[in-house]
Symmetry: C2
Subunit: 270 residues, 2 copies
């Protein structure tokens, strides 16, 4: 069993210094409560509702700036894994990114591939598969928010042997039909169940420039069953779960072995 925390944060696009300190405080709080893997929301160093590119530029982090060095030091000292969504400036571009840090330092970073809403005005879309890496706490995949609505994307993480999928997210409240749990969580549950993956998604709370959030951070087990789910306030949710080591679902069925990829080629059509 491993203790996972998903940090649902109230951030402010007008105050990136505060975003950074709120995110770092949440990591430290989660560690005090025993978390070994800590997931933070999408763009947790900047907020989401940018008005113009200047705001993106002003709040972006780099892979070797103070924020990242701080998180690397925290991960090293406490032997934890941190997965965080950040506004990242790297290779002369701005990315809606997710970083994976373990006690050995930065393990890798991922750029969101399926951009939502206006994100394409500010960020370069990624063109690499979901990041899946070996960490000191297991084989961890990451993708960001809207990415998980593309079941192909979660499949790639499963096929690359991920045990845990960590999803920094900012699920916008856009007048969806209210359901319990929200449909964003239903999609997470199905992704976990269909791929036999543990999934931890860290969402936002509060409001930003008139936009609010679903505020439903969630941790599922590898059968898709909700282990912990947030209410609307800023909070950290925790769950101790077992990470899967195979995709077997019964004595006769294996969800990976039962796939028939030779019949799936049309999925590459637009």
């Amino acid at each position: 069993m491993i203790c996972i925390a998903a940090c649902q944060l109230k951030l402010d696009v007008l105050n990136s210094a505060e975003c950074r300190s709120v995110a770092t405080a949440a990591i430290l709080q989660a560690i005090r409560n025993g978390a070994e893997i800590i997931v933070l929301p999408e763009l947790c160093n900047s907020g989401y509702c940018f008005l113009d590119m200047n705001e993106v530029v002003a709040s972006a982090a780099t892979l070797d700036d103070e924020l990242m060095r701080n998180w690397v030091e925290i991960a090293r000292e406490n032997k934890v894994v941190i997965i965080a969504g950040i506004n990242l400036y790297e290779s002369e571009k701005y990315w809606n990114a997710s970083v994976i840090i373990d006690e050995g330092g930065l393990v890798g970073w991922y750029a969101k591939v399926h951009l939502f809403g206006d994100e394409g005005k500010f960020f370069t879309p990624g063109d690499l598969p979901p990041l899946v890496v070996d960490t000191s706490k297991g084989r961890i995949a990451t993708m960001i928010c809207y990415d998980i609505e593309f079941p192909e994307w979660v499949r790639l993480a499963m096929l690359d042997e991920a045990q845990l999928l960590a999803v920094p997210t900012n699920w916008p409240w856009m007048g969806q039909i209210p359901t319990t749990p929200p449909m964003e969580v239903v999609r997470v549950q199905a992704a976990a169940s269909q791929n036999k993956l543990v999934i931890a998604a860290a969402d936002r709370s509060g409001e930003e420039r008139g936009l609010s959030w679903v505020s439903a951070s969630v941790i599922t087990n590898d059968e898709g069953v909700i282990q912990s789910i947030a209410t609307t306030s800023a909070q950290i949710i925790y769950s101790s779960v077992s990470l899967p080591t195979d995709r077997v679902i019964s004595d006769k069925n294996d969800i990976r072995g039962d796939r028939r990829p030779a019949l799936y080629s049309r999925i590459l059509n637009q």
Copy 2:
């Protein structure tokens, strides 16, 4: 709006004549209650828990036998569409099949591709994509039970422009962790939501040779929201829903257009 019925039936693998009459009675009942599209469970002419091949042979239907002629006549007279899971003998093989019948007769049939449990002992696996056909009531796809757990398979139906996915199913109760709704339904909801498809799944009730069923027939709208869900008894559930004509989910996002299939090629790996 179109009225869809999903018929949750109590069947008996020891009495295929009764299975046929129960299935036909449900179709007629649904029509009396205003259904225009009627979905029946997997293997509704035979039951599921076969002990040997003799039982499969004894209960199989053909595409031109009395059962099918009867259903074609009912569809013609009442201008309805019937989607039914049947034990089918065709081309000298036995298939776990789904037939789609509209007022013009048999529109097509599909053979289950992802076989579950012992099904491979009795049935030849299909090797064609989900059936997607134009009917008098819209463009309808069908697949069977375990097929829907493979998100690639639902994607193929969406890419082929399905508006409704009709899923004959026998969801076995195998000691899953109990959730509300059951995880089988969660996967249906996510499939509907991620593909902007209406989905109707018809399950079983009762018990057969010691095996019982989830008994959670369900109809969702094209946002994945449950419109009607069965309790455990034999029953017909109904819902009037609008069939989607596009995959647009906001003024900036289209779940088909936002796909990036050039990045999905590894999904064809086993």
